[in-house]
């Protein structure tokens, strides 16, 4: 992790997301999207870390990420997800949900579709609507699920003007994040420490299952599902704790791990190497959690090929993983002893609001208006 590249961008970054690489392609991540917040004018921007063919003398990549294009966004960008290769869905603090379309030919972004009243409050006894921030999005082509401070869950389809399904008052408190469990089930986390599982096949506005932290009602801010084992879920809370849940059994977390000193804003399993987990926090830290059992052996495998074959060795370890992760290393209790934690940012700054991992690449954005990128996560 020596090679971490920072760039100051004159706007506070609320979200960073890698553009997905086409299935089965050998490409590595090279484009990511960011959203800004708390600016007079906020933006959704696309950046490229493409090497533009200029390798420096050491064979390393020269230069930092370059802005490809950007577009104004109404309100703070609260969440950002790639819908597919070209389309990005953005959640706004004004209750808007917008799909932006990227035109690679002339490098521009345009509004493809917009739901302007996805999230709203109704005042007591008055018919007037006031917008409510949309706090989380999850996409699974063609479906988009959004949650908001109004406690509402919306199910949109990219080709439908109206919401396909809306659960009003799904939650009495603020919903902070949402993820797909197994289609058509989703999982939401809220500001009183509860996980709720919703099944869109069921009518009515009751969750099919509620899991919660005991007693303390610590707000949960983020959630991610294990990429291979759909019952394993990680959440991050206001107190900076990382919780691992098995939604098949019990209503309490399998393990609670002391982590950051302030709000954990995001948690992500590595999509192809799920023994690795990444978290970032308001306290300005970004952590890499490594729960793979054979740490020393694996790192020797990585070092063998040197820098040029990083990608190759990476794919080998993926195959190894398929056999190994039948029993998730996150659920076994002694996991705690085996997890190796590394801090990825050199010095503490202001809040790290968002991170994303894809292959050997990681991107994160901070309130200190910097975007950090590394392409050698496992070196």
């Amino acid at each position: 992790m020596e090679e971490i590249c920072a760039k100051f961008v004159s706007q506070k970054i609320s979200k960073t997301r890698w553009r997905p690489v086409p299935l089965g392609s050998l490409q590595t991540a090279e484009t990511f999207a960011t959203g800004s917040w708390d600016n007079e004018e906020n933006h959704v921007s696309l950046w490229s870390i493409g090497d533009f063919g200029n390798l420096d003398s050491d064979g390393g990549f020269e230069g930092d990420h370059q802005l490809l294009c950007d577009i104004g966004h109404h309100g703070d960008v609260m969440d950002l997800q790639f819908f597919d290769q070209e389309r990005i869905v953005a959640a706004s603090s004004t209750g808007y949900v917008t799909i932006f379309l990227h035109h690679p030919n002339n490098q521009t972004l345009s509004v493809n579709q917009q739901w302007t009243t996805a999230h709203y409050h109704t005042g007591p006894g008055s018919p007037s609507y006031s917008s409510a921030p949309c706090t989380g999005i999850v996409c699974n082509n063609p479906e988009i699920v959004t949650v908001g401070e109004d406690g509402r869950i919306n199910l949109f389809r990219a080709d439908h003007k109206e919401a396909v399904r809306t659960i009003d008052n799904a939650d009495s408190s603020t919903l902070h994040a949402v993820t797909f469990l197994r289609t058509p089930e989703i999982l939401t986390v809220n500001s009183i420490g509860q996980l709720k599982i919703w099944d869109f096949r069921q009518q009515g506005n009751e969750p099919s299952q509620i899991l919660s932290l005991t007693g303390d009602r610590v707000p949960l801010h983020c959630v991610d599902r294990h990429p291979n084992q759909q019952h394993v879920v990680a959440t991050g809370g206001q107190d900076g704790m990382l919780s691992i849940w098995d939604v098949r059994q019990g209503t309490m977390p399998v393990s609670l791990l002391k982590a950051h000193e302030a709000e954990m804003w995001e948690v992500h399993f590595h999509p192809s190497n799920p023994d690795h987990l990444f978290t970032c926090s308001e306290d300005g830290s970004l952590w890499h959690w490594d729960a793979s059992t054979d740490v020393p052996e694996k790192s020797s495998l990585f070092h063998q090929g040197g820098r040029t074959s990083t990608f190759l060795s990476h794919s080998i370890s993926n195959q190894a993983n398929v056999h190994q992760s039948l029993i998730s290393s996150w659920l076994t209790d002694p996991a705690k002893d085996r997890i190796e934690i590394t801090s990825l940012l050199p010095n503490r700054t202001l809040s790290v609001n968002s991170l994303d991992v894809l292959g050997p690449c990681l991107v994160c954005g901070t309130d200190a208006e910097a975007i950090y990128v590394t392409r050698q996560l496992f070196s």
């Binding site: 004159s10 007079e40 609260m78 009183i192 009602r217 700054t349 202001l350």
Partner: protein
């Protein structure tokens, strides 16, 4: 009070005629609001001002520059790092660290300057291009001043190395020579280039003698007549004694050697060695530190401090820091020659050469349009323990005063306020109160932003602010009909009064609709339930409903009764509770014991006896009273029946 240091700047407000209309103003955090008043003089009948706008006057406009934002953000990190430098570090390692911090600040300024320069070149609109260029020159002046302060105050270079630092300083900031050199060397025949001699002269002026020698050898190659002279001058250049960093020779040794070298140069000049070539002769005069010869090259020197450093290099190479101001002043006078008066930058540099730190900071504060520079420089110098004795007649010391100004400016910005927090943290005297005043004025448009502000307050134990923010959020939630959220926020604020208010809303909604909303929250209150009596009642009442739903009638009944007897339930709610008791009383098996039934009866009688008499009941009220009377009758009947059943049952149980 001190007198003003300069004329205050006049800001024109468009659309307002200050002669006819009256204006009023108010201070916002870091900015001023100006508007027309609607007070009018008697002769003007209309009350409405012609100009329905409020003007915001910002005093720190640089904060709004997109490129300078990078400077603010990046230097924030350096600032925080500097505050954490171990106090125990002393002597060399501490000084080295402070110099490194200073260099970091300068490199951020340079990076910013370069970017701004690129943008200025690319600017299509000439006005903004000019604005950017002037920003570039301001940044460049800032870096120049900072660099000099670094040499004099932080590095505290002694005689000898001092001159080497000053040479580096001049070379870094008078950099036209590089483009000149590229131009000349790029031509086909460098020594015949128009600017050839200019280039050689500049190199000598900057003490870059190796490069100058190479140029001379080019000249020697092309004109054999002057080859001999070039050779001699080149040798003089080569043999000039200089202090090299790794060298162990003492200052006295150096002075001795230098004296010999100087005499040799002098001899050559007097012997007329270079008489045949005016160019070479002029170079030799420069190397002798001849002031007249130096001043002939004013154009190439471009400014007085270059002149100063060149003059020192060739006449006083071992100048002591104390003597600097003397040479600086005479250089300035000689260079300007009475033709023009010194500019602000000249005054600042002069103050630095005089080692008058306060004057430097004062002049910079007046001349520069932002607080960034003085705040950071002063803070750094304070860490060098250079400002301890100085106290202002207002507020705290100068460092803190400037940091507060800068941080307030950041707080006036819609987005940079987060940076300001750390600056306030490191102002021991007034930082905390300033932060308290500013943080409450941050607009909270999303809960996420509110959480960030709350975190800042909680980390600093600012309980008052935490409470007020939570209350604002709770109020907002109530207005938006989000009772669950409102309750969560009042629990977080430990605001019992507000929790009571929200609980009442829940109960009212229940009475209207007959069912509870937000069960997920109420069922999971836990210990937070104890915050207020009303909240406890809400939680317990909901528990009663759950017990009833689970058909645990006995438990439900005793809970219901205890709610009334323990006075947790508000009187206004008793009728509802008694009505809830009805279905329990009507159950086939007896649930309330005789004793419990007596208690219930007493509650009912307490309630009916204290009912106030209405003066003039209207139709609606009569109808309500009617329903009420029926309810009471039904209750009395049910209670009586239950009592009978209970006595029978208890009697038979005792008998058996």
């Amino acid at each position: 009070m001190e007198e003003l240091d300069g004329e205050p700047t006049v800001t024109l407000i468009p659309g307002v005629n200050s002669k006819k209309k009256q204006m009023c103003f108010d201070w916002g955090p870091g900015e001023m609001l100006v508007c027309e008043t609607s007070f009018n003089k008697k002769e003007q009948p209309e009350m409405v001002p012609n100009c329905p706008f409020i003007y915001i006057i910002r005093k720190d406009i640089d904060i709004y520059s997109k490129i300078l934002r990078k400077l603010f953000n990046e230097s924030h990190g350096i600032f925080v790092g500097l505050q954490r430098i171990e106090e125990e570090l002393t002597g060399k390692s501490r000084k080295a660290q402070l110099v490194r911090v200073s260099k970091n600040y300068r490199s951020v300024i340079r990076a910013c300057m370069e970017e701004m320069h690129q943008v200025a070149i690319a600017a299509k609109d000439p006005v903004s291009g000019r604005q950017l260029s002037s920003q570039v020159s301001i940044l460049s002046a800032m870096e120049l001043i900072w660099n000099l302060c670094e040499i004099l105050f932080i590095e505290v270079a002694p005689a000898g190395p001092l001159l080497l630092h000053l040479l580096d300083w001049v070379r870094l900031h008078v950099c036209e020579v590089d483009s000149l050199s590229a131009d000349v060397l790029g031509s086909e025949n460098p020594s015949k280039h128009d600017n050839f001699w200019n280039l050689v002269t500049v190199l000598v002026l900057q003490g870059r003698l190796d490069e100058a020698r190479q140029m001379l050898s080019k000249e020697a190659d092309t004109s054999p007549t002057s080859a001999g002279m070039c050779q001699i001058l080149g040798d003089l250049m080569r043999t000039m004694p200089i202090l090299s960093p790794g060298n162990t020779q003492t200052l006295t040794e150096l002075e001795l050697k230098w004296q010999h070298w100087h005499e040799e140069c002098e001899r050559h000049l007097q012997d007329g060695t270079f008489a045949a070539s005016p160019h070479l002769e002029s170079l030799c005069k420069i190397m002798l530190g001849d002031e007249a010869a130096l001043l002939e090259h004013k154009e190439l020197l471009s400014n007085w401090y270059h002149f100063l450093v060149t003059r020192l290099l060739y006449s006083h190479p071992t100048v002591k820091p104390i003597d600097l101001h003397f040479y600086a002043q005479s250089s300035l006078d000689l260079f300007l020659g009475g033709e023009s008066s010194p500019e602000p930058l000249d005054n600042i540099l002069m103050a630095a050469f005089e080692f008058d730190i306060h004057q430097v900071i004062k002049e910079c504060s007046i001349a520069l349009s932002n607080w960034w520079f003085v705040a950071h420089l002063t803070d750094l110098l304070d860490h060098c323990k250079l400002l301890q004795s100085h106290n202002l007649y207002f507020g705290s010391n100068m460092r803190e005063f400037l940091l507060l100004e800068y941080a307030s400016g950041l707080f006036a910005h819609h987005s940079l306020w987060q940076l300001g927090v750390d600056y306030f943290d490191y102002c021991p005297e007034l930082g905390r109160v300033s932060l308290e005043l500013h943080i409450e004025r941050i607009p909270l448009n999303t809960e996420q932003k509110a959480l960030k502000v709350l975190r800042i307050c909680e980390q600093r134990q600012m309980t008052e602010q935490v409470r007020s923010i939570c209350k604002i959020l709770a109020m907002k939630a109530v207005r938006n009909n989000r009772l669950g959220s409102a309750l969560s926020w009042s629990i977080r604020a430990k605001d019992a009064a507000f929790a009571t208010l929200v609980s009442d809303r829940f109960l009212r909604d229940y009475c209207e609709r007959g069912c509870f909303s937000d069960l997920d929250l109420i069922d999971n209150l836990g210990p937070a339930m104890m915050l207020s009596d009303r909240l406890t009642f809400l939680g317990k009442y909901r528990e009663f409903h759950r017990l009833y739903g689970e058909k645990r009638f006995v438990d439900a009944a005793s809970l219901l009764l205890s709610l009334m007897t323990s006075q947790i339930a508000p009187r206004s709610f008793w009728m509802t509770l008694l009505t809830d008791a009805l279905p329990l009383l009507e159950q086939k098996q007896v649930i309330f014991s005789a004793e419990q039934t007596y208690e219930l009866m007493r509650c009912l009688e307490d309630l009916t006896s204290e009912r106030p008499e209405h003066g003039e009941p209207d139709a609606q009220q009569l109808q309500d009273d009617d329903i009420e009377t029926t309810k009471v009758e039904m209750l009395r009947l049910a209670l009586a029946r239950n009592l009978a059943g209970a006595i029978l049952r208890e009697g038979s149980l005792e008998g058996s």
